[in-house]
Structure formats: structure tokens, C-alpha cells
Symmetry: C2
Subunit: 436 residues, 2 copies
């Protein structure tokens, strides 16, 4: 029997869709790493009765551990500590030493904002030093401390871990929460699962459904595994969790996937296409530059997402206007006149111009119709041309029509570009005339 | 009494954090527009018993309307229709006409993927045509139909709206769901709220807490309003919902905010800084170009997020390597030697180089230390220099140290850039020597 957890994300701004929740997904992964089974994530507003109803429901489900995020700020609508204190039947009291430590933190930040009344800051933050009786305090990363609040003597579960809403603070505080005795006791008996991830690019989800059936027909005991398939940014991800003693069942399952999808399975160790591209660029000591139109900088932004990317990214041009394609990237204006700005010819000229102008080894060119306007019968919204080129003369050029909104098309385009880049870095690509 | 709704997001891939949920936030906003009060959003995995427990809980809370997303795909772990059918005591039956319509859709997609068994596609999709007795079918946008499933005669609430997981499909199907009789009946009696949004830039959240207290002290009846304050991408957003008959209370509250924060309140009609920048660029017929280092293309990507942005965005350079700053943007290499690549001088040279190279009216320059490496005592991680310049000679140049991770620093930097741009477009900025 594995320990079971529930997550309660509080905040009207999350519930109302004003900001999107990053804590639920992150906590979920941390819990999985600890072998704790997550039953549900509940988002509630700032109304204390709704939060209390969520806690009562999780207790009724027999959940061992609840993690809350948010509601620890200085404003009056931040009520998590109070609600959790009542739920665990542990009255709040001012922890004066903690109040002093928060004040030291605030002193450091004092210079950051002008025109703020210092008294109002101290007053607003005093409530952050109210601690339920018997709770363990987690030291503040921002200004809000976290709490690990054990159940009352009258009830055996759940223990509640109270964490702040800002993801940076929540994540930094997590190890301290996990290290507390109350936390360890709550998850005692959790068994560690193995998690394996396969990534495929270029097939529909229904084909994976068929592969699962094929595996079952060949006698693979899928009930022993927890297989999740999902579409993610245009790729198929197959995540499998299993207890270590059924590793051979997993291997048999992976064998079936491998056999049926040899051409589209590109990662079997959790590596993303971004990981593979970064690793190959570093291994080959190659540099890269981009010239993008419809993606407006998103390909360059994706390549520079990781620290240390300056080792291989020299830069890029967002060639939105045709004049920019010509003047900044050196695309021949006649090519644009003859084939249109959205064409394989211009995509290839952008790729070549990118590596030539930046003095890089590899160039990426992207040009397309992101919409909502600008589509034609021949080149509808979603029609995007890609080219990756190496200065050794290799090119891969491809056109595809992507579904969805402007944001979808732009995002999905970065995935297509990353996969073409991965293939070029693995030695694919027809050799064109050598670059000038 | 307003109608109350609950959202149930299904999918182990969402619960486990593999993909982030975009449907909960979107549905939440739609419900608010209909005057429906959202009590909670619950995320559960693909286990039917967990989804059933969530539905039972929402029924126990007296919720009028439940909206589910996900679990309608062709794979065996997609079980929403079945679970909802059981919950509403309505057995499933194959709708052969619907099956035929799904097949027509699949025929159109047939050419998209190679190496897929057609039989397997049809077989996997047959289960998508299973419909609970008495439910209204919402025509597929992708291949999965949605459902509006009324409660059984034995129970009065809730009605369950079953929608597919892909945001594009869910959003396109929503108007049809809202138009059904069962949906209208479930939310009968919902009162329409007014929603007003104030945005402030440059103050901490604790200062807004103090303003709320000041408003209460002056006799503003805040209990009549639902005020939510949140930090969002470095800004403070104050969202207030209220019933139309207390509009005067809201006006009094807004008056207090306006009086105390005249210098930082930049929007009172829901407009974002992106809206204001786009509008000003269009009104002034001005064009813009970027030259960014640490943000790696994110400023250009943000400017081109909206359709029609090609009317004012000419393009940008991601000048990651110093050679790119010099060769592509024309930054004087001596400036880099003397002040460092991360300096106000280089930021200003990037801004000027951007408008000069692209022939634009306005240029933005950004250079900083996004981390995690590369920080020094003088220029730590998070230290970012910004400059916006107009070819009429005006400049605004600013340096700030931003908190958080590499991703936070890059994202927050785009907000700083947008606000400097907004100020420049509103006529601010010291006049430097005219541009060469």
C-alpha cells in the first residue's frame, strides 16, 4: 500500500484563471519521486469555507498527506495558516522569534520600492508569523514561512504541509518540508516506483492505443504497469510507472513499442528533443544561429532556455518584415518576389543566411502563416516552411500545415524546428551546393 | 443565489505534471462571464474511481453544473463518458449516426500520417461514439464529441458537461454546450457580475494590502465586493467582482486606489501593457525592432504574439554572442570592452542599433545575466540593463536586479521592457543626441 497525497492550490487568481498554476504539476513530480501516489489536485479560491471543504474531503478519502500552496501572503484574503490550524485543531499563536527573522528579511528588501510606508509592510507581515500549535516552521525563502502541521490527536491523518504560492519560494522550501519528522511519518510505507519515459514524434495517439492492444495480445501484463500516453507540443509521450519487481514486464512492453515505432521513437531515457539537441551541439562543438519569421523569436528563445546555451547559440534574426529578411539575413529579394515570403526557397535562404551572417555552423530558417489573417487557399493559416542547414552543405527542408490557434502554430513550429535540427545533428540531410 | 459550478480536469498526464492544464483557467473565465460562481477545480488521474469520487463530492456540495475536460480519447484509459454515464445513471449506447460522422472526419485526416493501420484507427475511435441515454451530443471539433448529461430523475443536480481535453477542441465546442437546454436549465438564476481590473506596476503586494485597509477605514464596504489582488509577471493585478447594485461601492474603492497609486496605476479598463503598447504603436503609425541578449528572443516573441503585429514589428536581433552584437547590431566593440556586454551603455547601443538596422522608429535593447552562471558581485544573476530609444532622440534606460530562476528573470525582463516601451510611447524619455 503506497502513501496517498492530495494537493490543494489556493487563490482566487488561480481558480479564476488569471494566473496559471505551476505548483500542482511541480509538487506532483516531487511526490512521485518519493513514491507517493497523488490522488487529486484541488484548486479553490480564497474563501476559507471552500478550502476547509477540500481538506475535509481529502480527510474523508483517507489521504495521508496534503500539500497546500498559496494563501500565505500579507493580505487579509490569505488565510491558509488559519484554516489549516482550525482543521488540525491547533490554535495559532504569534511566534515572536519568527517575526523577528521576517523583519530582518524585509529590511534587506526595504530599498527596492519607493513610496511605501515601512509601518504598513511590518504590519501586513506580522500575520505571517502566526503558527499553529505543534507545527514545524519552514524558514521563509521570500517573506512567508511554510508549515508542517500534524493531525490532531483525535484523528490519524492527514498531515498538512503548508507552502507559499510563488513557485520559486515553494520549490526552495520543499526539501526542508520533506526532511521534517512529521512529513516522513505521514508517508511511511511509500514504495518507490520506477518511471520510464518514451518519446515519439510523427504518429497520432490512436496508433499508440493500437500498440497497447498489440502488447496485451502478446501477453504483456499491462495491468502491472501504469502506462500514460499523451500528446505534448506535437509529440507523443509514453510515461510508465511500475514497481521494481515488474521491471521485466516493462521491458517487454518497451520492446513492443520499439519494434512497432522504430522510426518515430527518438528518446527512451527521458531526454527531450531539447536535451538531445543541446547535447549534440556541445559534443560536436557546433554553433547555431536562427532566422525566423512567423515564430517571432520563439525558436531562439527555446534554444536559449537553458543555462550555458551561449556555448553554442550565437544569436538569431527575427526577420518579420521582408526588408529584414533581405537586409539583415541577406535573402535575395527576387526569391521573395518569385516564390513568396512563405516558401521553401525563402526558408532555405533564411537558414543559409543565418549561419552565414552569424558565422555559425548551423542555421535554422522558419517562415509561415501563423494567422489568424494572411492565409490563402494554397498557403492557409498554419502553413509553415522550415529549413535547417549546415555549412558543410547539408540541408533538411520541410513544409507542413499545423493545426490550432496562432499561439499553437507558433509553439508547434518550434517543435518541428527542433526535430529537424536533431536529425541534422545526427548526420541526416541532403548535400546541396556548398555554402558560399 | 448564484449558480455554482465545479470543474473536473481528468488525465494522469495533467495530474502528474507532465502537461499543464490550460482548460481549468479558460473554463473559469467563461463561467464568470455567464455569472456562474466557480467553487473549485479538481484534477484527477485516469482512474475511474477517482473521477467518480470527485463527482460525488461536487454533488454533495450542491454544485449545479460540473464541466469535465479530457478522457474522451481513443485509448482505453479515456473513461470520462463511461464514468459520467454511471454517475448520472444513464447507460451508454452506440450512436451509429455519430460513429459515421466521426468516420468522415477521420477520412479527411487519413493522409496525414504514414504507416498507420486504418482498421486500428476506426476501432479505437468507435468508443468515442458511445453516448449516455438522454445526453445531448456536441459535434466533434477534433474526433471526440462532447456531451451534456443531465442528472437522473432521482437527483436534481448537477448537470455534467463533458468536453475533450485539447484546448482548441474544448474552446470551439463551448458555445454549443452553453446553448443546450440542459446547460441553460442548470445555471438558471445565475446573476451577472461586473468584473473590473486595475493593473499597477512598480509596487509590492503589501502596499495594496495597506490600501485595502485604508479603504475600509474610510468606510468603503469591502464585504460587498470580491477583491482579488495578485502578483502576475511582476505586476500587481486587482480584480474586483461585484453585483451591479453595488457599483457605487466599487467606484469608491477604485477612487482610493487611484488616489494612493496615481504613479503606478497604468490600466483601469482591463487593458494589459501589451494591449496599450500595441494600440499606441498602431495609433502613432510607429514601427519597432528589438536587439536582445539575455532574453534570447522573448521580447520579439511577446511583441509578435498578437495577430496583425506585422503592422508595427519589423523584426529583431537575438545578439547572444558579442560578435553578433557588433556585426549584426553595430555595437561598438570598444563599448563592450570598456563597460562589459551587460551595461547600460551596451543596452542603449543595442536599442539604437535595432532601430537603425531595421529602419524602425523605435528600438529596444536588453542585456543581462539570466543565470544560473555568469554572475559577479557587481553584476549578479538577475542584473539586467534595458534601453528603449526613439529615432527622434528620446531614450529611457534602466537597470534592475530581478529575482528568481533563469526562466523567471527572462520572463520578468520582457515585462520591464514592455513598460519602458509604454512610457516611451506616451511621450516620456530624455532627449539624447539625435540618432546618426
Amino acid at each position: 500500500m503506497s502513501a496517498r497525497a492530495g494537493i490543494v492550490v489556493t487563490g482566487t487568481e488561480v481558480l479564476s484563471g488569471i494566473i496559471s498554476d505551476r505548483n500542482g504539476p511541480w509538487l506532483s513530480e516531487q511526490l512521485a519521486d518519493l513514491g507517493v501516489d497523488l490522488a487529486t489536485t484541488i484548486v479553490v479560491g480564497d474563501r476559507p469555507e471552500d478550502m476547509r471543504a477540500a481538506l475535509d474531503w481529502l480527510a474523508a478519502l483517507g489521504i495521508d498527506l496534503v500539500v497546500t500552496s498559496g494563501g500565505l501572503g500579507p493580505t487579509a484574503d490569505d488565510l491558509t495558516a488559519q484554516v489549516v490550524g482550525e482543521f488540525q485543531e491547533r490554535p495559532l499563536a504569534l511566534d515572536e522569534a519568527l517575526e523577528g527573522r521576517i523583519q530582518v528579511i524585509l529590511e534587506r528588501l526595504r530599498g527596492r520600492f519607493a513610496n511605501v510606508s515601512w509601518e504598513s509592510v511590518l504590519q501586513a507581515n506580522r500575520k505571517q508569523a502566526l503558527v499553529p500549535d505543534g507545527a514545524t516552521v519552514l524558514e521563509p525563502v521570500g517573506t512567508a514561512p511554510g508549515l508542517v502541521v500534524p493531525p490532531p490527536p483525535s484523528r490519524s491523518t492527514p498531515t498538512v504541509v503548508v507552502l507559499p504560492g510563488p513557485p520559486r519560494e515553494l520549490q526552495a522550501m520543499w526539501p526542508a518540508a520533506v526532511a521534517t519528522d512529521a512529513f516522513r511519518a505521514a508517508i511511511a510505507g511509500a514504495s518507490t516506483f520506477s518511471v520510464r519515459t518514451l518519446r515519439l514524434y510523427g504518429i497520432p495517439e490512436s496508433e499508440i492505443a493500437q500498440t497497447l492492444r498489440a502488447a496485451a495480445e502478446r501477453g504483456v501484463d499491462l495491468d502491472a504497469l501504469e502506462v500514460t500516453t499523451c500528446l505534448r507540443r506535437g509529440e507523443i509521450e509514453v510515461v510508465t510507472r511500475f514497481e521494481p519487481d515488474v521491471a521485466d514486464v516493462y521491458e517487454a512492453f518497451e520492446g513492443v513499442v520499439r519494434e512497432r515505432h522504430a522510426d518515430t521513437l527518438y528518446s527512451d531515457d527521458g531526454s527531450t528533443v531539447d536535451d538531445l539537441v543541446a547535447r549534440a551541439l556541445l559534443d560536436q562543438g557546433a554553433t547555431i544561429a536562427t532566422a525566423e519569421s512567423c515564430t517571432g523569436g520563439l525558436v531562439a528563445a527555446r534554444l536559449t532556455e537553458r543555462g550555458g546555451s551561449s556555448a553554442y547559440v550565437l544569436g538569431g534574426v527575427v526577420a518579420y518584415a521582408n526588408s529584414a529578411k533581405v537586409n539583415l539575413v541577406g535573402v535575395d529579394p527576387e526569391l521573395i518576389d518569385r516564390h513568396g515570403a512563405v516558401s521553401t526557397q525563402v526558408a532555405e535562404a533564411l537558414a543559409v543566411g543565418a549561419f552565414a551572417r552569424f558565422g555559425a555552423d548551423i542555421g535554422i530558417g522558419v517562415t509561415g502563416v501563423a494567422g489568424p489573417g494572411g492565409g490563402t487557399p494554397e498557403k492557409p493559416v498554419g502553413y509553415v516552411c522550415f529549413s535547417v542547414g549546415h555549412r558543410d552543405g547539408r540541408r533538411i527542408t520541410r513544409t507542413t500545415t499545423l493545426p490550432g490557434s496562432r499561439a499553437d502554430i507558433r509553439d508547434r513550429s518550434t517543435t518541428v524546428a527542433m526535430h529537424l535540427l536533431r536529425r541534422l545533428l545526427h548526420g541526416e540531410g541532403e548535400r546541396a551546393r556548398p555554402a558560399a
